[in-house]
């Protein structure tokens, strides 16, 4: 839960709408919003008003070459096979759809039961030693472990979602392909068709990486990871590389 109180929210909301918070402040603000959805409408309105500034610059005409170059790329991609054209939800459907929930849970249960003691005990101990991660979780808390399903583009990436007591979620990922500079892995909690940002992390070069979720992975949601610009995005801008459904 964010330490940010109502007063701080009031103090920061206009700067947030204008994109004038530092990265740390922005994350803190979004964490507050995650726990106070009743304030979202007010923030959305401020974002709409701030967004009007985008209409104010003197009109400039882009060069015809820009259109030409862009459309060359578009035509090449339009005639190419499908993979890059799918939305996050199409991808989720394809990733999760053909794996029935029952089978998924069976795999989760099997892998969870067999590997948890061997693999995740140590990782949870590591997590417990970190601030903000698995904080205040008793050593004998009984976590749920769900396997993350990789997309085809994710190579050998794998991971597990550990749902600790109190619906605190921790993701442990491995072998995520190297991502470009200026990019991060972003966690999403998707309820219905609304993805909500739920934390950022950098994939490790070797070994597993643990990341705590800023939003509770409640029952029925989908948890997904996408690659986003540094600082994260408000909405996913790329297809998910790892997903699981609770």
């Amino acid at each position: 839960m964010s330490d940010m109180g109502r007063e701080h929210f009031e103090d920061m909301k206009e700067a947030y709408a204008l994109g004038a918070l530092s990265e740390e402040e922005r994350q803190e603000f979004e964490e507050y919003l995650a726990y106070h959805p009743e304030d979202q409408a007010e923030v959305d309105e401020l974002i709409s008003i701030a967004g009007l500034l985008a209409l104010s610059p003197a009109e400039q005409e882009p060069s015809p070459d820009l259109r030409k170059n862009l459309m060359q790329t578009i035509h090449a991609e339009a005639s190419a096979p499908e993979p890059e054209r799918r939305s996050i939800f199409d991808s989720l459907r394809s990733i999760l759809g053909y794996r029935t929930l029952a089978a998924g849970f069976a795999v989760v249960a099997l892998i969870g039961l067999l590997s948890w003691n061997l693999l995740l005990q140590g990782e949870i101990q590591d997590l417990q030693s970190q601030p903000n991660v698995a904080q205040n979780q008793p050593a004998n808390a009984n976590p749920r472990v769900l396997e993350l399903q990789p997309a085809e583009s994710a190579g050998h990436a794998s991971g597990e979602l550990i749902v600790l007591k109190g619906e605190k979620g921790v993701l442990v990922t491995k072998n995520i392909p190297q991502i470009p500079d200026g990019r991060v892995c972003q966690i999403w909690v998707i309820k219905g068709d609304k993805p909500k940002p739920s934390g950022l992390f950098q994939p490790g070069e070797d070994g597993p990486v643990a990341a705590s979720m800023t939003r509770a992975p409640s029952k029925g949601v989908i948890v997904a990871i996408t690659i986003e610009p540094a600082g994260g995005s408000r909405q996913p801008t790329s297809d998910p590389i790892l997903t699981t459904k609770l």
């Binding site: 500034l53 104010s56 003197a58 939305s87 996050i88």
Partner: protein, 195 residues
């Protein structure tokens, strides 16, 4: 081909984006023709020079093409969505390269190159643009400056306070008053804030 292109001119943005999602390049081209000028104008205002602005716009429209499925009508118009991507990526660029320049004066000094359009939709968009400019003209200079430094130049409120040698509370207060004044302008005209 020309007839098909003409058909796309009649479609709403939401229909074009749906078609683009299915891989329809012509629908995407119509979308580009409709919004590239706004996107480029914003990009140019932020980047301050032509090449960077074009790179940004190309990057944004490729993103629109590849992620058209992530557009959500309930969160605003297609134009708002595209401009928000331009803005977010522009700010990312300004902050990551630390090559931020105060471009306002330079850009404002250049003459606009508005081109007439026969399309009603374009006229409507221009009308909205005029309303927004009118709203911004009601702001005191010190409020407008702070909104512009934040929105177009990607400065944080703390950085703006440092740049202008103002207390942080003053910067926040001017942001608050500036946005409120814009809202009040639309409320007083019985107009909805363009989405």
């Amino acid at each position: 081909m020309a007839d098909r292109g003409r058909q796309y001119l009649l479609l709403a943005d939401e229909e074009l984006i749906s078609l683009a999602r299915t891989g329809n390049a012509e629908a995407f081209a119509a979308l580009y023709d409709r919004h590239s000028r706004s996107a480029y104008s914003l990009a140019y205002r932020m980047m301050g020079e032509r090449q960077s602005a074009e790179d940004l716009v190309q990057d944004v429209f490729l993103k629109v093409w590849r992620n058209s499925g992530s557009y959500r009508a309930e969160r605003g118009s297609v134009r708002t969505w595209i401009l928000s991507i331009v803005h977010n990526r522009g700010v990312d660029h300004l902050r990551s390269t630390a090559s931020r320049r105060r471009t306002q004066d330079k850009v404002e000094a250049e003459s606009p190159k508005s081109q007439p359009s026969e399309a009603f939709a374009e006229t409507w968009r221009n009308s909205q643009r005029d309303q927004v400019r009118e709203a911004l003209n009601t702001l005191p200079g010190e409020q407008l400056k702070i909104l512009e430094l934040a929105y177009f130049s990607g400065y944080t409120h703390v950085e703006i306070a440092g740049l202008l040698d103002l207390p942080l509370g003053t910067v926040k207060g001017r942001m608050r008053l500036g946005l409120k004044k814009v809202k009040d302008f639309f409320d007083s005209q019985d107009m909805a804030v363009p989405g």
